[in-house]
């Protein structure tokens, strides 16, 4: 390959990067998404989940919410079968989704469960997230569906997305404001 062609290719890459350069990507300000504790209990042949999560919006997400942009909180729960040599296959997944919006007239934050449609309002998003972060007695799976000789793990994490229509703006907003948040996966053996 000649030097000229190599320089031309490098120039092309630089041009694409230059096109994206004006987009300011802000660092996340404050906020914390973490699983404080989680455990499962077997009751009447059904495994139930109890968890306590620290959900604190960063400034960007809080601003977005106060600006009327809805936020979507997802609690992702996965059950995987443990294997020694191969990857662990996912046996069951459960996602609890909540849409959080700000009602300017009443100055209240409305939390609507996208799974059940139930809606509750709170005077602050902190209170709302405190309630959402306290999970108690969520059924995960029927024990009869599991192999008795196998070992299973439960994974849980919380995700927050800025829900913007159209999604193209969402991409750019995410690039601009860095409002999306997520916790690490929290894992423990199913007992």
């Amino acid at each position: 390959m000649t030097n000229s062609i190599r320089w031309a290719r490098m120039g092309a890459v630089m041009l694409v990067l230059a096109m994206l350069a004006p987009l300011p990507v802000r660092a996340q300000d404050g906020g914390r998404f973490a699983i404080r504790s989680a455990y499962s209990v077997l009751r009447h042949g059904v495994y139930y989940l109890n968890a306590n999560m620290a959900l604190m919006l960063n400034q960007q997400a809080a601003d977005a919410l106060d600006s009327g942009v809805p936020l979507v909180l997802k609690i992702q729960i996965e059950l995987s079968r443990r294997r020694s040599m191969l990857w662990d296959p996912t046996v069951a997944t459960l996602t609890q989704s909540y849409r959080i919006t700000y009602h300017a007239l009443s100055r209240r934050y409305i939390v609507r469960s996208l799974n059940s449609g139930r809606q509750v309002s709170y005077r602050s998003w902190q209170v709302a997230l405190e309630h959402l972060g306290d999970i108690s007695g969520v059924p995960i799976i029927d024990a009869s569906l599991l192999e008795p000789d196998e070992h299973y793990d439960i994974h849980i994490r919380a995700l927050l997305n800025v829900k913007i229509i159209p999604t193209g703006f969402g991409l750019l907003t995410s690039l601009f404001y860095g409002a999306d948040q997520s916790s690490d996966w929290y894992q423990w053996p199913l007992r």
Binding site: A64, S67, Y102, R107, R123, H131, T167, F169, L172
Partner: protein, 740 residues
């Protein structure tokens, strides 16, 4: 007529359609079209990838063009000029459109977010809140009033009372809660609602403090409500605290206005929040569209320039090919326009040139063929043939001419023949030629004798002028034959015949004469006495002695005439010379014998006996020439002579005697030619005969520092030997015929 599209054009068309579709969808997405929301990222990536591909294509074209420009490839300058022009034409309007579009977008979007509008919305929401606050306080007071009424109501009438109160108060739902949030009684205007909406934690916290709770609460699909919760007065200690929750819908004109203000405020705040992403999204889309358009235009400029220049480039390359002599080049036909006409004319021209060259090539081939045929004929002629132009430059010479003149005439081709003047043969030949040329003889034939170091040679020479061109002789053809050997062979044959007849006619009566003289001496000598006897004895003795001499002479003649078959075998000539000269190395030898032998001389197919006889004769001849000389010396030397046409071995026998008289030099090898007082005069004649039997030549010469030298040339290789022998046989045959 439908033209079939090439795969490249089909691919280009598909790429262009895809690109246009991508740009259209991207534009639609940027206009908040929900239909293409999910495609937005993919469309961005697709268009960015298309831009990258175009950029790579353009870079490749650009690099290729730069390289072509640097090596001055035909058409590269025109291509560069056209590309530059196209790019400038495309870039200027695109830049203008881009600049003004960005300005318009920036100012246009900013104009949406007017401070006054924002303030108005804030005021509207504040006003709505105030209005609702007043309403809220009224409803809270009403709820407290209903709580007091319920506190005095018996438990059995609670349901009825609540229903009555709800209808009177205008609440959509009225619920009385007991300890731990247990529902004691409820009334609602929605029969489908099974479970009433419980007060939240905030309300409970407020109640625990002993305070009533009221708030605006959007409830699902039911819309905005005012939730008021009030404690029922407790008159008896220990009775659990009860509380009443009332939900009042914000209905009617006030409700719809409140919803409208809420929706407008939320949308405006959302738009304000999305202001920057919106602006950048539109600018990015616009940039991408314009970039793609510009890149497509640049690439199109390259494509169009190459298409325009290609026929001209082909023409330039075709012209170069014609200049190199390649008339087979045919150019592809472009469109049927002026350039197409030019290309067609070029193809026709090269076709005709090619045909003309083919005709010329065939003619030249024919001439070459005839020339080669002529040269083959000339090469096989035994006569020498040379052709000279009017300036006496040598044009043609066959190998026989070189052989006869003993000169490599190939070196003098296209040069003045006078360059070979150092050769005496050529000098004398040219004198004769010029004499005839000056005399104006156009055709002449003459026998000439030319003298040189190797003796006298006789040539028959005939010269003819070539056809005239504008009264000037175009040249001359000279044909000549060397008659020296022929004449010599005739003379040798005559001498051989003489010798044979002498041997036959004279030898026979000699013996009776000798016997008769001896018988006379034996029978009649005793009859004489004194002086007579002495005379008689001397006379018979003289007769016998002279007859002996005559016999010797006749025997020598007989030897000369005899031609036994040669017995050829490989012989090391140097070794043979060494062996023979050993016989002459003794104290009684009157001369000093010295050898100078060439070690590179190979073994040769010769008759060793006859070569030995040659050497004996030559050494003896040299010795006789040195008789009486003080520092007599004989030098025998050999040399390997590599000529242009043959390879020979030279045996030279030189002495430091008085030499040979110049007048005798050319006759020394003829019988009876001798300067010595005794001897038959046949020694050198026999030597010459033996040399010629081996296909060789012999010549005698006087050396510059005194003394004579006899040089014998014998052909080395077998083919040359055979050729020489055949030539000897050919020469002897007509000589014998002539002799007969």
């Amino acid at each position: 007529m439908i033209r079939r599209l090439s795969p490249t054009k089909i691919l280009m068309s598909i790429a262009a359609v895809l690109l246009l579709a991508g740009l259209y969808l991207l534009a639609r997405t940027s206009q908040n079209s929900a239909a293409f929301d999910r495609l937005h990222v993919w469309l961005l990536l697709f268009n960015a990838a298309a831009a990258l591909v175009l950029l790579i294509l353009i870079a490749a074209h650009l690099v290729k063009l730069v390289l072509q420009y640097r090596r001055h490839a035909p058409g590269s300058r025109l291509t560069a000029r056209l590309v530059g022009m196209f790019v400038a034409l495309a870039l200027l309007p695109v830049a203008l459109v881009y600049y003004f579009s960005v300005q318009f977008l920036d100012s246009g979007i900013d104009s949406w977010f007017d401070v006054r509008v924002e303030q108005a919305l804030d005021d509207a929401i504040t006003l709505s809140r105030r209005t609702l606050d007043v309403r809220t306080q009224e409803l809270l007071a009403r709820t407290q009033s209903m709580a007091e009424q319920l506190s005095s109501s018996p438990v059995t009438q609670l349901a009825t009372t609540i229903e009555t109160l709800r209808q009177q108060s205008g609440a959509s739902e009225l619920t009385l809660f007991g300890r731990n949030g247990r529902i004691l009684a409820t009334s609602t205007n929605q029969p489908t609602l099974v479970v009433p909406s419980p007060p939240g934690d905030e309300a409970m916290l407020q109640l625990r403090r002993g305070l009533p709770y009221v708030s605006l609460d959007p409830i699902g699909d039911l819309g905005l409500h005012i939730r008021a919760v009030a404690l029922l007065p407790s008159y008896m200690p220990g009775v659990p605290q009860r509380y009443l929750q009332a939900l009042f819908p914000v209905a009617g004109r006030q409700g719809s206005l409140a919803q409208s203000v809420q929706a407008a405020y939320t949308r405006y705040r959302e738009l304000t929040y999305l202001r920057k992403p919106l602006k950048y999204s539109l600018i990015l889309t616009l940039s991408l569209v314009l970039l793609l358009g510009l890149l497509a235009a640049v690439w199109g400029a390259f494509y169009a320039a190459r298409r325009l220049v290609a026929p001209i480039q082909n023409l330039a390359e075709g012209t170069r090919a014609v200049a190199r002599g390649d008339f087979t080049r045919r150019l592809p036909m472009p469109a049927r326009d002026e350039v197409g006409f030019l290309v067609s004319s070029f193809n026709e021209m090269t076709t005709r040139l090619g045909e003309a060259r083919e005709v010329a090539r065939r003619s030249q081939q024919q001439v070459e063929s005839e020339r080669a045929y002529l040269e083959a004929v000339l090469a096989r002629l035994s006569s020498g043939v040379i052709a000279l132009d009017s300036d006496l430059r040598l044009r043609t010479a066959n190998s026989a001419a070189s052989d006869i003149l003993g000169l490599d005439l190939g070196r003098y081709l296209d040069k003045p023949f006078a360059d070979a003047l150092e050769d005496p043969f050529v000098a004398q030949f040219l004198d004769l030629f010029k004499r005839h040329a000056e005399a104006g003889d156009r055709h002449w034939r003459e026998e000439i004798a030319i003298s040189g170091a190797t003796g006298r040679r006789i040539l028959t020479c005939s010269c003819t002028s070539l056809p005239n061109v504008r009264d000037n002789a175009a040249g001359y053809v000279v044909v000549f034959d060397d008659l020296t050997t022929l004449i010599q062979a005739q003379r040798d044959a005559a001498w051989g015949e003489v010798a044979r007849r002498l041997a036959h006619e004279i030898k026979n009566p000699l013996t009776p004469i000798q016997l008769a003289a001896e018988r006379l001496s034996q029978r009649y000598l005793e009859r004489f006495s004194g002086k007579d006897a002495e005379v008689f004895e001397r006379a018979t003795y003289t007769i016998v002695q002279q007859v002996d001499n005559m016999k010797s002479m006749v025997n020598a003649f007989s030897e000369y005439a005899r031609t036994p078959k040669l017995e050829l075998q490989p012989v090391d000539i140097n070794r043979l010379i060494t062996e023979i000269t050993e016989l002459y190395r003794g104290n009684d030898q009157p001369f000093d014998l010295k050898l100078e032998l060439d070690p590179t001389l190979p073994a040769m197919n010769v008759d060793s006996g006859r070569i030995g006889q040659i050497l004996h004769n030559l050494i003896r001849n040299a010795g006789e020439a040195l008789e009486g000389q003080g520092d007599a010396r004989v030098v025998i030397s050999t040399r390997r002579l590599r000529g242009t046409t043959s390879e020979n071995a030279e045996i030279a026998v030189a002495d430091n005697g008085p030499g040979v008289d110049a007048a005798m030099l050319e006759h020394v090898f003829e019988p009876y030619v001798t300067s010595k007082p005794k001897g038959t005069g046949l020694g050198l004649a026999i030597v010459k005969k033996l040399v010629e039997e081996h296909g060789g030549t012999i010549r005698a010469e006087n050396q510059a520092d005194g003394g004579a030298c006899v040089r014998v040339l014998l052909p080395i290789n077998e083919r040359a030997l055979v050729r020489s022998l055949l030539r000897v046989a050919r020469r002897q045959k007509p000589a014998e015929t002539g002799g007969a």
